[in-house]
Symmetry: C2
Subunit: 396 residues, 2 copies
């Protein structure tokens, strides 16, 4: 006897996760070396050596009772202060530990934000294409997802559709830049425009609208693009961050939320997020890993590794005749399906043991997402298979 | 602008957590050595040495990409199989990795179980006194908590009231033995009686009623009591386990859920719990810590440490004239308040810098909970303060 909601969730479960499992099954059948799995955002470059060293040092140097013990539900104060200091140094912000809540990844962070701000029927706006999990996170708290149509010209948000769909019930707008799935970085112009539209609508409706910046890919930017931090554009910006990609720690579930003092009801928000962390069952971010990331805030993942993959894949697939959006950040290549019904294209690719995710999973049919956070060697091995695929569609 | 639900949650927030924060503030004021904080279940005995060694070995021996990477949302298969093997060896069960889902602590485990089985209005039964967080966990999924009155004779559940309150909407019953806050172990007789009542009611109503065993204190038993595992009593038993107490890792958020094959809709439950782990934002239990506990399943915390505290505190407080339930397990002493309104007693204790939690926080006024998972030396230092408190109430 399972709940009705879960029955529905099982029916429409994550296309990405389904692919992940399919990929593993395929690998057992034809051999891992013959499967080209571009489905999951699971980094193929290791965590910085300093991370594992930091863990060992903490175990040797610090009190075991503290390392593995309870702390405030928002995390260790010294860890939170270190995160604040790091952000202040890099982005000219003025946070202290009160503004930082350590979380069980960005997924945990977004959920405790939503639990804190959403009433039943509250509207959460997303710009298609978007990470499909947002739908579940909003639904967890009876929020209603409102989709802004994709702008397939350059995949910057469609401002006209955005402005039109904001209502008095709009409680939150999610931005995710560098973007999953498109690899596009929202321009400064885009951010300023979003901010000015939100300010005007807040005034018009007399409401607070929170801009929620989901930024696991903050540090993954290419071609000389600068890392950006969005609180400077709009007063009601809340940040959900994850170390999953920047330190290659997706399994560890470690991240943080930022609540600036200038956000409406800031103190109430901080308290609410703290309580939500506890009552939703996270309790606190994993303790040892909090301390470990605090010692590695200046560490970076191997951005060059992703950049090499990006250029290789983009150039080779373009040469084969595929139409791709050139990624500016994150580690996804967004490719136009040669046929409108991209699910057929995904199926065709599977015949050549190539796995990538249909655009419909991101509310943007006609495209596919190729995660290039894989080994370069796998990309190289996959190219003949892509060539066959291109041939099948009369491209190559 | 925070949600109405969070406004309410903030108003009635955890008495235990409030005490924890109060204790820290008091320590800053009068010095940590002069505060006798018995409020929180935060173990004062270290994790076994083997745990920290295991972490280092894993970092040295295993592939960093695997250690910190994504895996199935239910956890690493080898870790889950190790947990199953360990349970089978100790309790004669017949689990394999399919029956085990690694979770972000027991709090995470209970929440994903509830998400999977509760529809709006579903009833969740609890035996007072009970851990107050159950109320939040049920409310997260619009479940309704139904309290069975406390049986203050011996704090075994009141079977008559239990049987009377089961309805066709009863979806779950929580048991927590060894019990927080009373320290009582539910007897085999109790468990058999609960099982027979549930079987009869399932038949009568044609429903499935899940017995959810919340067992963070499973291994903390005294006076020769045997560790028990509840799936043997009743077919529809689901287990939520945590390593927080058994390995002194409360900050690490690591535990597991057991779904036996004989539970109704077992496969659907497993899938639902797996999906809930993802969609609620946990994604998976922290990866390195999964691997670490798998290597330490035969390790035990220092039960003798707690036992020494238990005997010391029970004997001394009894001598001072207080009425206490002698703990059989866990690390809580359940003490009768000398005055009916135990909140007054809690306030009086604070004058002597003694912190413990009011029984009303566990839906059982007239009592207080004293957590003795503290250093023995703190208990010894606290005795003169307890003596003063006893005097104030004309006991000593």
């Amino acid at each position: 006897m399972v709940s009705e909601r879960i029955r529905q969730a099982l029916a429409g479960s994550s296309a990405i996760r389904a692919m992940f499992i399919e990929g593993k099954a395929l690998a057992e059948k034809v051999g891992a070396e013959n499967v080209y799995d571009f489905s999951l955002g699971n980094p193929a470059t290791e965590a910085p050596k300093a991370l594992n060293e930091a863990i060992k040092e903490i175990l040797d140097e610090e009190d075991s009772l503290i390392i593995h013990g309870y702390m405030d539900n928002s995390g260790y104060e010294d860890v939170r202060q270190s995160v604040a200091d790091n952000l202040n140094r890099r982005f000219g912000t003025h946070f202290n530990y009160h503004n930082i809540i350590m979380t069980v990844g960005a997924a945990g962070g977004l959920n405790i934000i939503f639990k804190t701000i959403l009433d039943p029927g509250s509207e959460v706006m997303v710009f298609a294409p978007y990470f499909g999990e947002y739908r579940s996170y909003a639904a967890n708290f009876d929020g209603k997802l409102v989709e802004v149509f994709p702008n397939t010209a350059d995949f910057q948000p469609d401002m006209e559709d955005f402005e039109k769909k904001i209502t008095p019930k709009t409680r939150a707008v999610i931005v995710n830049t560098p973007n999953n799935p498109t690899g596009v970085i929202y321009s400064q112009e885009t951010m300023k425009k979003i901010a000015s539209i939100l300010c005007a609508k807040e005034q018009e409706y007399g409401t607070d609208i929170y801009l929620i910046s989901d930024e696991p890919y903050r540090e993954l930017v290419y071609d000389g693009a600068k890392e950006d931090f969005l609180t400077k554009y709009y007063h009601n910006t809340l940040v959900g961050y994850s170390f999953s990609k920047s330190l290659s720690l997706p399994g560890e579930r470690i991240g943080y939320v930022v609540v600036p003092d200038e956000a409406a009801d800031s103190d109430l928000l901080k308290d609410g997020i703290n309580v939500s962390n506890r009552t939703l069952g996270f309790v606190n971010a994993p303790s040892l890993m909090q301390k470990a990331v605090a010692r590695c805030l200046e560490e970076k993942t191997n951005v060059g590794f992703y950049d090499g993959n990006r250029i290789l894949l983009y150039e080779e697939l373009t040469k084969l005749g595929f139409t791709c959006i050139k990624p500016q950040g994150a580690f996804y290549l967004w490719m136009k399906s040669p046929v409108e019904a991209e699910e057929e294209f995904v199926r065709a690719a599977k015949k050549y043991n190539i796995l990538f995710v249909k655009g419909s999973a991101f509310a943007c049919p006609g495209y596919v997402r190729i995660a290039y956070c894989v080994s370069k060697e796998m990309i190289e091995r996959s190219l003949p298979a892509f060539k066959e695929l291109a041939k099948e569609y009369g491209l190559a």
